[in-house]
């Protein structure tokens, strides 16, 4: 029998504000435990929350970037449950009036574009971090993360495979990074993903029983966790078993999903409006102002690269993967208006070195202006393309200006015909064999001779001129 997979994602993203959502503690990651806390985020008796305006703006921006409708009025609610990482024993979240609703995100899978609905985008506070002792006897709590602003993004159950889910998540990440509301570092927990998964027989209307899968801490984990859970559900159905509605945890080590709680054990969160926080009223004016801050989104940028720069789709895709990469490319094209050449260098040399060094585009010493200068040097024949690569490597290492490098290292291309004629004559003299070969029509020998000239000049000879001289001499 053939099954259809139905997946909806709930993605939590930490916002890049300086301070926490309801107090003025820093949001920095990786500090000593319980050093970024104050009475408010520790939930001490008597404290009150005051909302960070930038967090609201980032939530609105997230909504706009995902094509959502920004609600003119929204409010904060308390989600009540006991857990030691939650110092007030309630999380301030948004229940029935989120900041934004009804959006979508287009993804491209196997060459086809698919529109995935975004149900809602809401603001909430993050919880602390619990570290379980190895022997399991006790746990330790660090409240530094408590109160870091989050948006929760909920998708419609429009995803039909783990592959679609992965692409959706990648696109979502890229959009939020473009919008600069989050760094979306899954390894630091600033992007976290839960999934609702069900399967049904193809052609059936009603949804199957769903399970909720948590604790997928990397893109790989999302892929593997979903794959496992889909297979588990299909296998169960094949065996004639029923799927029970439950919350599962992805166990990365063992590579399987483990039940956390059943439907009967589900939390009763007792949501109610937080009396300590006033509602939000988002006027159209404010929305428009924020809209003006939105950058061009990855998909639009990609399309533009194809039409405006005439780049192949593959190049456009790779270059727009991050906004910093795209900016680098375009800044370079401004100085050197040959988009495909720039693209080749960015995708080939630059990305090659970045990957080898495992650093980000924002960390490279090469500037777009310097790359453009390098390309001009090659065009003008000041250096050869081959030397260009050597120069680029030096630029990557030192961040120096290419002209300075060429000068310093004496890499100027030799285009002086007289000088080259001398060298060519020398080469002809000491290589009578290949010269004969060439004369008798063996074209291959030409390459050998040019190579010898290059060797003598340490690659600096202008190959076109060398060719020309050789041909003249051996006519």
């Amino acid at each position: 029998m053939s099954y259809e997979v139905v997946i909806g994602l709930e993605v939590h993203v930490e916002l890049l504000t300086k301070s926490k959502i309801f107090c003025s503690c820093p949001t920095s990651f990786g500090d000593e435990p319980n050093t970024n806390v104050c009475p408010v985020c520790l939930g001490l008796p008597g404290v009150l929350p005051v909302i960070n305006k930038r967090a609201v703006e980032f939530a609105i921006l997230s909504g706009l970037a995902l094509n959502c409708k920004v609600n003119p009025r929204s409010k904060f609610d308390r989600k009540n449950y006991f857990y030691p990482d939650l110092p007030k024993a309630y999380q301030i979240s948004q229940y029935d009036m989120p900041v934004a609703e009804d959006g979508y995100l287009n993804i491209k899978v196997n060459g086809e574009t698919k529109c995935i609905g975004i149900t809602r985008v809401h603001l909430e506070e993050d919880a602390g971090k619990l570290i379980h002792a190895e022997n399991g006897d006790y746990s330790l709590i660090d409240y530094n993360r408590t109160g870091v602003p989050l948006v929760e993004i909920v998708s419609e159950p429009d995803l039909r495979s783990h592959e679609e889910a992965r692409v959706f998540l990648e696109n979502l990440k890229r959009i939020l990074q473009y919008t600069q509301v989050s760094d979306c570092k899954m390894e630091e927990g600033s992007l976290r993903c839960d999934a609702n998964i069900s399967v049904r027989l193809k052609g059936k209307k009603e949804l199957g029983t769903k399970t909720e899968l948590k604790n997928m801490n990397s893109f790989k984990a999302v892929q593997k966790g979903l794959e496992y859970e889909i297979k588990r559900q299909i296998d169960s159905l094949e065996k004639g078993e029923r799927i029970s509605q439950e919350t599962l945890r992805w166990d990365e080590g063992r590579g399987l999903t483990v039940s956390m709680r059943s439907k009967e054990q589900a939390h009763d969160y007792r949501y109610f409006p937080d009396p300590d926080l006033m509602p939000l009223e988002v006027q159209q004016e404010w929305v428009e102002k924020l809209k003006g801050l939105l950058p061009e989104m990855p998909l639009q940028k990609k399309e533009r690269y194809i039409t405006q720069y005439g780049l192949p789709e593959y190049d456009a895709e790779v270059l727009t993967f991050s906004m910093d990469m795209a900016d680098f490319f375009e800044d370079c094209v401004k100085e050197y208006p040959e988009p495909k050449v720039v693209s080749n260098w960015v995708m080939g040399e630059l990305m090659g070195f970045l990957n080898a060094e495992r650093i980000d585009i924002t960390e490279t010493k090469v500037t777009p202006l310097n790359l453009a200068k390098l390309l001009h040097l090659i065009d003008k024949g000041t250096i050869s393309g081959k030397i260009g690569k050597t120069v680029f490597e030096e630029m990557f290492k030192s961040g120096e200006d290419p002209e300075a490098i060429v000068e310093e290292k004496g890499l100027l291309q030799i285009s002086d015909t007289k000088e080259l004629e001398k060298i060519v004559d020398e080469v002809i003299k000491i290589n009578p064999g290949p010269v004969e070969d060439l004369k008798s029509g063996k074209k291959k020998a030409m390459g050998f001779l040019v190579g010898q000239v290059m060797k003598q000049t340490k690659g600096k000879a202008n190959p076109q001129i060398v060719n020309k001289i050789l041909r003249n001499r051996l006519k």
């Binding site: 939930g43 008796p45 008597g46 006991f82 309630y90 300590d276």
Partner: protein
Amino acid sequence: MKYFGLKVHEAHKLIKDREISSEQLTKSIMDRIEDVEGIVHGYVTVTKEYALKKAREMDKKIAEGEEPGPLSGIPCAIKDNICTKDILTTCSSKILKNFKPPYSATVYQKLEEQGCIMIGKTNMDEFAMGSSTENSGFFTTRNPWDPARVPGGSSGGSSAVVAADEALFALGSDTGGSIRQPASFCGVVGFKPTYGRVSRYGLIAFASSLDQIGPITKDVRDCALILNAICGHDPMDSTSVSADVPDFTRFVDKDIKGIKLGVPKEYYTMQIDDSVKKETGEAVTNLANIGAEKVELEMPYTAYALPAYYLINPAEASSNLARYDGIRYGFTYEDAENLLEAYKKTRSSGFGPEVKRRIMLGTYALSSGYYEDYYLKAQKVRSLIARDFDQAFKNCDVIVTPTAPTVSFRTGEKIDDPLMMYLNDIFTVPVSMAGLPAVSIPCGFVNGLPVGLQIIGKPFDEGTIIKVASAFERMLALDKVKPLFGSYVRGGA
């Protein structure tokens, strides 16, 4: 010398004229506490050394030429649900018996800045849940007028210590009547400002949409002085309003001719003691005699305020009190095998019966399947009650009612019947539900026990309340009548 009987404005005059020092005044209060606290039991903590040190510092400043403000060097008591940095703040609960907050409430900061000398933290019903102070997790406070009776609650400690001259004034908090009802029972002035007038930052939350801090004083002028000191916008409290704060003493000793006095018939037909009804009725007549104009009102939703309140209040409380789990502060049950057991044992042995009852009730009212019938319904009724007041204030300037349906009752009399106890708040709760300002001032006696008159004002119109209360006080001079236990002198006289 015995200065403890002074009012704030009287003591200020003496300090300003360099006739007494803050240290003398504070010592006098400490002596008084020594003498009568064994009967009253109003304080959970007396901060004697801290107070004397602060008083001496103040005296030094004054000696060096600093002009004393109206509250400089004035000893005061703070209800034990208001956070005071590094000083025990217990909410009269075992669960916070060892809690020393690392920060101070905004109101306390304000009082400190103005030179007040805190002499102690006062007893209350645990987490402010109660109307008799019998729900304190530590001990019961007595009514200075009759120690066999309750001082009211939950600000029973604050009211009793002011009535017994163990402090020149006190801060209390009012959620459904917790300042006004004990003020009424103890024969002092208790003011609940408009919701949003006084910062709640540092007030340990009970029912957040209702809680408000206010003064408990010996007379109306003192009340105006303290309001001047504590009102105003606070960026740390999102529900705090940035309305202008007038000098409230400007409303003291003013003519009330032409003031329209709303008298809602519902307040006089609900369950109320005849004697209390008679006293408050006379108060209205007296006010009319000095020029106020009586306006009969109908406020049909009055009776629904209490049941709605007893859903909203426990619901919010159940959430506010969930944080007491023994992990970050407070009492903890030490021998728990696991976290769940630690939670349950800590909370069960740390909270008293009334707190548990409200947590249970509130949890139920919010739980899945009941939210709409209970919590949401109550919030809708809350809108109706507010509408009642809006309508009423179209025809009058203030509304005058009894503060409580009875005078102080005997300790133990109502403690086993929660519903009976809740009915104490029947006249104060509607005001809280609408977030309005109101004062309770003494208006007479029944069998030697004080009766309180509640004067309710429009939002942020505390001034008119002060005006009416002051005129009334001047007429009857009940502020001069004091409970007759122990010996006292009227200082400065």
